[in-house]
Symmetry: C2
Subunit: 343 residues, 2 copies
Amino acid sequence: MAATIKDIARRTGLGLATISKYLNGGHVLPQNQAAIEEAVRALDYKVNEAARTLKTRRTGYVGLVLPALTNSFIMEIVQQIQLDLRACGFGTALCCSAPGTDSIRRQTELEAIDFVLKKGVDGIINLPQNEDGVHLLKPLEMGIPVTLIDKQIPELADRISSVMIDNVGAARTAADELLNAGHRNILALFHGETNYTGRRRAEGFMDALRQRGYPVDPDRIIYMGTTSSASSLDLIREKIRQFRPTAIFAANFGLTSRTLEALEAEGLRVPSDVSVVGFDGVGVNDGYGVKLWSVMQPTVQIGSAAAQIMSEQITAAAQGNPLPPQVRTLQAQLLPGNSVRII
Amino acid sequence: MAATIKDIARRTGLGLATISKYLNGGHVLPQNQAAIEEAVRALDYKVNEAARTLKTRRTGYVGLVLPALTNSFIMEIVQQIQLDLRACGFGTALCCSAPGTDSIRRQTELEAIDFVLKKGVDGIINLPQNEDGVHLLKPLEMGIPVTLIDKQIPELADRISSVMIDNVGAARTAADELLNAGHRNILALFHGETNYTGRRRAEGFMDALRQRGYPVDPDRIIYMGTTSSASSLDLIREKIRQFRPTAIFAANFGLTSRTLEALEAEGLRVPSDVSVVGFDGVGVNDGYGVKLWSVMQPTVQIGSAAAQIMSEQITAAAQGNPLPPQVRTLQAQLLPGNSVRII
DNA sequence: TTGTACGCGTTATCAC
DNA sequence: GTGATAACGCGTACAA
């Protein structure tokens, strides 16, 4: 049986309130402090988090709700979030809304949120897949702070914090690289059309073209929608055959992977046949001859920022003066490779 | 303010015990059941997990302690564990012992275990990096069930459950593939020499050689130890130059990646210069011309098995009759590629 | 089957 | 500064 605060009280002859106060950072007489410290060590006392939660209504857990663990980008962020939250004393309750076709995604993400809510969390960090954010209404209503990563939900922008990169700038830089190399016939691949991040990256890409006075061909701007990997692959192959681009810009992890597959399937080589700028480090460290140019998001910084914001929001809310939502925008970096041919 | 069991009692006119019993699966009169159901819906009642934990001493969380989130193999397992645990009603407390040189690994893993213990978990699923398992003594002593994945700790084999593949068989199958293709000068790369999984795979590899009467050259069996990625890469390159192998077998995810890098750095092509059989899907879906032969571990099954064992152990322990530790061995599969040249 | 009363370990509010 | 004491919400003997 684990030692309780009562055991400490018995051993030291002090009252419960004194012990509790000291344990929570209050001041007591030096002699009492020493006595408590001694008793804690001797009895190997650990606070009972359940009892504390029952009283304070704070669980010390942050829910981390993600679509799935599918790529190194999200993995690095998850790890960093977990490390930093732990450093702040918070546990990380991982909850993947998990695979599922788009038609049931709303449902699975809602269930994931409901689950962490049921388990009890002080805050939620979410990489949303449900673009209208209805799944976040309940936590918001309950006064549980929410921080978004990677994507933004404009409708809720004034009520929730978010951490993401300058998507417009990142895409613009990537496009510039291709344009500087002389490419004009560029196929550009983005997330679904309703996807905030995808739209921003598309904007950045088009910005780069316009800035130089090049025409924007809407047919070469492909929004993948929420199709499966397989049909995305087919679509990319089709577009490659249709437009015979000299270069491709793929605006996220999955699209970059599928672009490489599509080129391989079409028998096209990088960069001799087609130049490629990708995202999130795909094809950067494969140990093959081709090293892709890649937009690298600062995953460590993203994770740290999310954890920090979350921690601050929770602490402030616990003290009765909730902080306004924070938005943090970080800069991505274009990592050079050898996948762009100068023409 | 959230509704409590008392509110239900007031609304239905029933006693607290009746409500509680029904909520925990007990039988009550149909009319009372209906009344309770109605009240639960009307008041949007949710059980307070903290109060329940305080009483039952069960938190409904399983600690998932890993070295780090570094590759798709571990990621897939983590996701599956989380999904299955959730289906059993358990939350997943993710805790990465995190990066760190080997000298401090014992410490970081111990801290990770201590953290989940402090937060309160009913069980621990662990991918150990500390090979003697001292970090698991405390949970074991506390009566908290532990399930290992991927690796085994022989000293503790009779006290903890484990889920892993038939490492000997997997390595033997991989070796057979190379031997069948006519390779005799094979460089074989394994984890550290003190690593259980690495040793088992090395055994399997050597078995395959011996079974055919081929000599085992200890110099071509490389144990990486716990060196950094960079120095591993250097070591592999050195061995390649030294032995000029016609084939390489890399016995885990990281080693396979570094093997590809090393070959690239040495200017050697796969499979024309050197054949390769790797592990865990590295180089299988890169969208390049070469698709590696790869030992694929059944990540979904591993995750499911770990979650299932954990759930059973916890449930049994909660009912006072703890289950003996379980060991589950699954079969890996050798996925064909085009990275092996017949000579 | 149902209800009463108590305890789980902690924090918070008072008096002192 | 300190110490009784009352919650917090639930599970569970025990009695009815």
